[in-house]
């Protein structure tokens, strides 16, 4: 049997992140960037919103999946651009995404437990 590849795992995370980014990304950037409504970035407002466990969880999951989405695409684009395949390259990409996801989950946990 030929060696199996871990690719399906990363592709699934990439796909989930891509789907989430497409569905809620533009609206979220609008809310925080405009901001909408104008007082959305106030400390009290945001704390109130994050007090809702679903909001905290949604943001935490988004951060993690988007990082995996980015890691996957960036890795393959580097290959596309002619960067030679080296074992450390996927380790850096997916390792970075894993670290960021763990941090995001930690922060989310702190929020949910509050």
């Amino acid at each position: 049997m030929r060696p199996r590849s871990p690719e399906p795992l990363f592709w699934t995370l990439f796909g989930a992140g891509g789907m989430l980014a497409a569905l809620v990304g533009p609206a979220l950037v609008l809310i925080l960037g405009l901001p909408f409504p104008p007082g959305a970035l106030e400390y009290a407002t945001l704390r109130g919103a994050m007090g809702h466990p679903l909001v905290a969880l949604g943001l935490g999951v988004s951060v993690g999946l988007w990082l995996f989405h980015a890691a996957h695409r960036i890795l393959h684009t580097l290959y596309d651009l002619g960067v030679p395949h080296a074992p450390w390259l996927p380790r850096v990409c997916y390792g970075g995404a894993t670290a960021g996801t763990l941090a995001a989950l930690g922060v989310t946990l702190a929020w949910v437990l509050q």
Binding site: R4, S5, P6, P8
Partner: protein, 251 residues
């Protein structure tokens, strides 16, 4: 139309016994509105330079032999018309991403080799003999694979796929589409065998969905769709194996 107009055809030339590098040669070809690029090449071969090498057979978009790059687009030269380019010149080159054998003829050995790997034929669950009678299939079941069965192995999709050009191992659009064609056939039971090859880095995971294969296919095969519809199934297959043995996923 009155007297034939003249179009400039710029052909890539490469004769391995003579040339170290390919170069382009210009030919002035008189053409009529119904003349295809292939007929232009034939005019060159008959009247201007008998050493120009290119492949063709059916002249009617059936055999898949005459594919080449025309002004950077992979096309069947027998269904591409000179009138659509005049007064610009047409640049005719061998299909991208394949080794050039001679002038416009490429070496398709890599494709043929990969095609065999996916067992592109029906693998019935039980051996059958003619006395068993014909395979039966409803029109709906036939619809499941009909699109992908139209492939004529013209290799245009390979010339449109940068991943095939970049990765020596990648099975490429048509091979994966044909694997899908047999997997999707209700008479076939060879899915598990093909999955071995399809669910690898050289299989569906080699595809990053550039998507141009489906745009250039002259037969409406949609290889990009055929490949990517298999990704969720291939991912599930991996997950299942992972759960079963817990040791299959080593990079």
């Amino acid at each position: 139309m009155s007297d034939p107009r003249i179009i400039v055809m710029e052909c890539l030339r490469y004769h391995p016994e003579r040339d170290t590098e390919p170069y382009h040669q210009r030919f002035e070809v008189p053409f009529t509105p119904e003349m295809s690029v292939l007929e232009g090449l034939q005019y060159i071969k008959d009247h201007l330079d008998g050493s120009l090498t290119f492949r063709w057979s059916c002249r009617m978009a059936v055999c898949g032999n005459c594919g080449c790059m025309v002004n950077g687009e992979p096309v069947l030269s027998c269904q591409t018309f000179l009138r659509d380019y005049h007064p610009e010149c047409v640049r005719v080159e061998p299909l991208d991403h394949f080794p050039i054998q001679r002038d416009l003829a490429v070496d398709p050995a890599d494709f043929l080799d990969k095609l065999q790997q996916v067992a592109p034929y029906l693998i019935p669950a039980q051996d059958r003999i003619p006395e068993d009678g014909p395979y039966r299939q409803t029109p709906e079941q036939m619809q499941d694979y009909l699109d992908t069965s139209a492939c004529i192995n013209c290799l245009l999709c390979y010339a449109a796929c940068p991943q095939y050009g970049l990765k020596a191992d990648f099975l490429g659009p048509a091979v994966l589409a044909l694997a899908h064609r047999y997997n999707a056939d209700s008479r076939d039971a060879g899915r598990a065998r093909r999955m071995e090859v399809m669910n690898g880095d050289a299989g569906v995971w080699g595809c990053t969905l550039v998507g141009r294969c489906s745009e250039v296919c002259p037969k409406g095969v949609d290889p990009a769709g055929a490949i990517n519809r298999n990704k969720p199934a291939a991912a599930l297959d991996t997950l299942r194996r992972l759960l079963q043995s817990g040791r299959t996923c080593t990079p």
